[in-house]
Each structure stands twice: as structure tokens, then as C-alpha cells.
């Protein structure tokens, strides 16, 4: 299973990832020039947020024990394989907002008019996630769990990672720790 590792030290907050995500994944035209005039406006599935001394490009963390998956009463949120990305089947989503209520990262966006949600699906149907391709500084790294481990062990930079239930950490700088846990192994 692959994941997006975010190197917070490299993010300049340029929002190129947001722009490309919105155009590539949500616009009809797939071109920036036309996308800006579309109605409804194409929305990104990644959100660059300002933090104390930098920026946090945040998309769905595809948590191992994903609370949204438990919350979805329609089967719209699902995984194709164990530990794979959490994907939404738009045809099944009715806009009950249970997942919005349970995502501790606020990474699921409710589209009130359409009664659907959008969220990052790691661009499962593409070779690589658009945001990773778009990032001009290399702050977003697409890699498998094994390589992620190696990169994190080098300790060069502050990273956010997929959220694992057993460590409760996916965001691993002292500041960014969030005591998020559902069921836990004891």
C-alpha cells in the first residue's frame, strides 16, 4: 500500500497542489484556464493550512482504523483492499454527513448542494497522485510503507504520514501530535 508522506520543512505554502488537484480531479475541462470559470467551482481535495512556523498540506490520512469507514451507513466509503486508500463511491453517498462528523482531521468536505462528499482518494485510478506531481518543492512524496519507514528513520525533516491506529501517530512532530485513537491494541 502506498501513501503520501508530507515533508513539512519543504512546504512553502504555494498551494500549487490545491490548484492542480482541483483542476485535474474536480473540473470538467481539466484545464486551469477554463476551470476558473466553471460553476460549481472545482474544489481541491488537499488543503494547505497555515501552522505555527510553516504550512500543513493536509489531505485524507487514510487512517488504518478509519472512523469515517465505521460511520458511513451507506457503503459509499470503502477500501478496495485491506489498508488501501479510503475511497468514496459517489453513487452511494446520500449526504448524511456522518463521516464529516467523525473525521478528526476535517479532511472530508461536504458538498451541501449536491449532497455528496469529496475527499482525497490518493488518485487511485492514476499512476501517481496529482498533488505529488504538482509539488514544486518535493514536499509531497508518494511511496510505499517500507520506503516511508526508511525516510522517517533518517529523521531529515518533520513529516506527516498515514495514521496508524496502533501508534496513534501519523503526524509526528511534537507539536503535531494528536491523540487520535479508536480501538487500540493493549
Amino acid at each position: 500500500m502506498k501513501e503520501i508522506l508530507v515533508n513539512l520543512d519543504k512546504c512553502l505554502g504555494c498551494k500549487t497542489c490545491e490548484l492542480r488537484c482541483a483542476v485535474e480531479r474536480s473540473s470538467k475541462s481539466k484545464s486551469l484556464y477554463s476551470a476558473v470559470r466553471e460553476n460549481p467551482k472545482p474544489l481541491p481535495r488537499i488543503d494547505v493550512q497555515s501552522i505555527k512556523d510553516g504550512y500543513l498540506p493536509l489531505q485524507c490520512r487514510h487512517c488504518e482504523e478509519a472512523p469515517c469507514l465505521n460511520a458511513c451507513p451507506t457503503g459509499a466509503l470503502f477500501r478496495k483492499e485491506d489498508n488501501g486508500p479510503v475511497i468514496v463511491d459517489e453513487n452511494l453517498c446520500v449526504g448524511c454527513w456522518m463521516c464529516v462528523m467523525t473525521c478528526p482531521f476535517g479532511a472530508i468536505t461536504p458538498l451541501l448542494e449536491r449532497k455528496k462528499i469529496i475527499k482525497c482518494d490518493l488518485c487511485v485510478n492514476m499512476e501517481r497522485p496529482v498533488c505529488v506531481d504538482a509539488c514544486p518543492t518535493g514536499a509531497l512524496v508518494y511511496c510505499d510503507t517500507q520506503s516511508a519507514k526508511l525516510i522517517l528513520e533518517e529523521k531529515k525533516g518533520n513529516f506527516i504520514q498515514k495514521v496508524f491506529s496502533d501508534t496513534s501517530e501519523g503526524i509526528r512532530r511534537g507539536l503535531l501530535k494528536f491523540d487520535y485513537k479508536q480501538g487500540s491494541s493493549s
Partner: protein, 417 residues
């Protein structure tokens, strides 16, 4: 070794799935007193409002049971549990022994005592067959009275309104959604529902359901209701939405302890070692109120089921407790309520814009968030739910931007949470 799960709802199927993940070998049996594979009760109002087709109600098809090698017995009710003999008495007169048992029998609609409430045109909504009955009534009738103004009542009222029915809602509390909202929040929602053409009477009790002779059949048909004070409201059928009670009939008289529901420990185990309970029938620990509660919502049922399943299969996982929460959308207005909805001993941060139907309230006790209400803009509700869930200690809550329309996870980090 034989695992038996009573109930084919979210708790039951999640338990079965968890067991099968770690135990590929032993037998798993699920009993359901209904004739269908697992479906979503949450979707029933959408089905009645014809927003979701019947096929889409089913969240697990036959192939799920086959793939996971689960024996599913439909239309079979478990009448009695004998936890001393590890034995079940089934509705088909047979008996069955188990090694590990999960009680996931869910809840049953609460029926208040009102004259005439046993009539045929008085309906509740819990099962798919209830949904089909309501749908067929809705196609023949014009006016419906709702007894109770909770989430299921209002969601169904929305559906029936979309089918063109005339709707009156009689609420005994001071305001609608009284378990989710405070008065201010409920007023916003109530106004919104009025503007859609719903009739809502609060602080009123139904005294009697009136019937009259029916020319087409022998059975009498409903003609209206009488509320306290003698006022009459005409209607053709009545819906009861007074909440649910844990379905504990099958353990009455057994060693398994019953309180509000069936109390369980952090491993979802009852007082009997090899018997577990999960979902709407189980009584768990509430992280916010520190009391034992029956949390009858889908997300908790799934989580509890999973944890019960793992523990039944010998993998120790603990349940960290429930929080009371719910989300609903009514006529385009989204509403989320988490934890406590307020109270004198708490500090309340409030942002209200009535003309935009927006309301946000964060309930704080010293340095911890204890509850929240979101109406209109619900985007950041999960972030607050996360804080309520973790009961994390916060420094200087006022600085935390909780009332901002654009509250995001980064804000928490920026403020050192």
C-alpha cells in the same frame, strides 16, 4: 469452536468480519429474524422518499457471507439464551450450542401508552418491512401525524413531505431534536421546517388516536388524534418516533445482566465470560458524561462490533468508550451534535447568524471540550469531535478559533493543541 452472532446489523456484520480476519477456520453463524442480507436502517427514510432504490439499501450482498464463510440464517429468531448451558433456543423449535456468543440484537421502537396506538395504521420505522409499509400508506393516504420530534421522525417527515403528504409533528418536549440540540439551535431548525410547510406542536402530548368505521374493510381506520386540551388533528395514519429501547427480550431471566441495555466491559464482554454484546443493545461507557449509556448510532455499532469480534477471536482490543453524537440533514440544512448540548456549569462559546440559519456552540468545561452543536456549516465538526473524543486538555480555549467558519486542523496545531 463455534461463534454465534445474533443480529445481522452493523454490529453483527462488523464482528463477523473481524473474527474472520483473525480466525480463518472456525464456524461463524449469524442469525437474523429478518429475511434479507444486511441493509442500512439509516437509509430507510431515503428509500421511502424514493431517493435511494431498494437494491442500494443492502450494504452486504450474499457474496460477503460466502467470501467470509459465514453461515447466515435468515428469518430465524433466537428466542432465548441459556448462558449456563451455552445454548440458544430458536424460533424454528431447534436448539444450538455456541462457544462464543455476540448479542447484537439492536433496539426496538419505544411505544408510548396511548389509546388506539395498537391500530394497523400506526407505524414505526426500524425494519425494511416497516419502510415498505410506510411507503404503501404514503401512496394511499394524505395526512400523517408524527408522535415524537426526534431525528428519525424528522428525517421521515422530510421524505413524506417530498411525496406530497400533509405533516403534523407532536412533540412532548419543549423543542424538537431535544436529545441533539439546545433551545436556540432547535428554534433555528424549527423555523426552517415551518418554512417548508411542516406543522409542529411542541410541549404537547397525544391523548387518543381516533378511529372510524371503514367501508372498505372490517378494520376501523384512523381519522385523527386528540391532544391534551381536547384539540383534534385530522390524519389518515400515525407515525411513532419516540426512540428505541435495547432489544433484550432473549436474555430476560438468564444470568446475563441487563440494566438500561446489556452492560459490557472495555472488551465488549458481558458479565458472562463467553458472551459479548455490541451496538444498540449494549450499554457502554460515555467518555463525556462518565456514565453508562446505550449509544444507538451506526458508527458506534460498527466500532463496537469490530472490537467485540476481535476479542471473541482472542485478539485483545479495548473499546475506549462512546460519545453521544449524531448528524442529520433536514430540507438542505445540515446539523451535527456531539457530546453535551450545554448546561449551567459549562462555558459556552456561541456564534449565531439566524438569518443564514447558522449556529455553532462549543461546550467547554475548564480546559476540555465536552460538546458541540453545528447548524448550517458543519465542515469542522469532526475536528471538534476529535477533541471531545480524546478529552484532550487545552490551553486557553478562547484563543482557539473554534467559532471560525474556516476552522481547520492546522489551527489546532498553530495554537499548540
Amino acid at each position: 469452536m463455534r461463534y454465534v452472532i445474533i443480529g445481522n446489523g452493523p454490529a453483527g456484520i462488523n464482528a463477523a468480519e473481524a473474527i474472520r480476519k483473525v480466525d480463518k477456520k472456525n464456524q461463524i453463524i449469524i442469525f437474523s429474524d429478518e429475511p434479507y442480507p444486511a441493509y442500512s436502517r439509516v437509509l430507510l427514510p431515503y428509500f421511502i422518499g424514493q431517493k435511494v432504490s431498494k437494491e442500494k439499501l443492502f450494504i452486504r450482498g450474499q457474496e460477503f457471507y460466502e467470501k467470509n464463510d459465514i453461515a447466515l440464517y435468515l428469518g430465524t429468531k433466537v428466542l432465548k439464551v441459556n448462558s449456563i448451558q451455552n445454548e440458544l433456543f430458536l424460533s424454528n423449535t431447534r436448539r444450538l450450542n455456541y462457544d462464543k456468543l455476540l448479542i447484537a440484537t439492536g433496539g426496538l421502537p419505544k411505544i408510548p401508552f396511548i389509546e388506539g396506538i395498537d391500530g394497523n395504521e400506526v407505524v414505526t420505522l426500524r425494519k425494511l418491512e416497516d419502510g415498505e409499509k410506510i411507503l404503501s400508506l404514503a401512496q394511499k393516504k394524505k395526512r400523517v401525524v408524527f408522535i415524537g420530534g426526534g431525528l428519525i421522525s424528522l428525517k421521515l417527515a422530510e421524505a413524506l413531505h417530498s411525496l406530497g403528504l400533509d405533516i403534523s409533528i407532536i412533540v412532548s418536549s419543549n423543542w424538537i431534536l431535544s436529545r441533539m440540540l439546545d433551545e436556540t439551535g432547535a428554534q433555528i431548525v424549527q423555523k426552517h421546517l415551518f418554512s417548508q410547510g411542516l406543522r409542529i406542536l411542541t410541549n404537547q402530548n397525544v391523548q387518543r388516536i381516533l378511529t372510524e368505521a371503514n367501508l372498505e374493510s372490517k378494520e376501523r381506520k384512523i381519522s385523527g388524534i386528540i391532544i391534551e386540551g381536547g384539540k383534534r388533528i385530522s390524519c389518515d395514519f400515525v407515525f411513532i418516533g419516540k426512540g428505541v429501547l435495547p432489544n433484550t427480550d432473549l436474555v430476560q431471566g438468564d444470568e446475563i445482566k441487563i440494566e438500561g441495555g446489556i452492560p459490557v466491559d472495555e472488551y465488549m464482554r458481558t458479565n458472562v465470560n463467553n458472551v459479548f454484546a455490541a451496538g444498540d443493545v449494549a450499554e457502554t461507557f460515555d467518555k463525556v458524561s462518565k456514565k453508562s449509556i446505550v449509544s444507538a448510532i451506526w458508527p458506534m455499532a460498527c466500532e463496537q462490533g469490530k472490537i467485540a469480534g476481535y476479542n471473541m477471536a482472542g485478539i485483545r482490543k479495548s473499546y475506549r468508550g462512546s460519545i453521544r453524537m449524531n448528524a442529520v440533514e433536514l430540507f438542505g440544512l445540515p446539523i451535527v451534535s456531539i457530546g453535551l448540548s450545554g448546561g449551567k456549569r459549562y462555558k459556552e462559546l456561541i456564534n449565531i447568524v439566524p438569518e443564514e440559519k447558522k449556529y455553532r456552540k462549543i461546550v467547554v468545561e475548564k480546559d476540555r471540550v465536552k460538546g458541540a452543536i453545528f447548524i448550517g456549516n458543519i465542515r469542522a465538526s469532526g475536528i471538534i469531535a476529535g477533541l471531545i473524543n480524546s478529552q484532550k486538555k487545552l490551553i486557553d480555549v478562547d484563543r482557539l478559533n473554534f467559532l471560525s467558519d474556516h476552522l481547520c486542523y492546522g489551527d489546532l496545531i498553530r495554537r499548540g493543541v
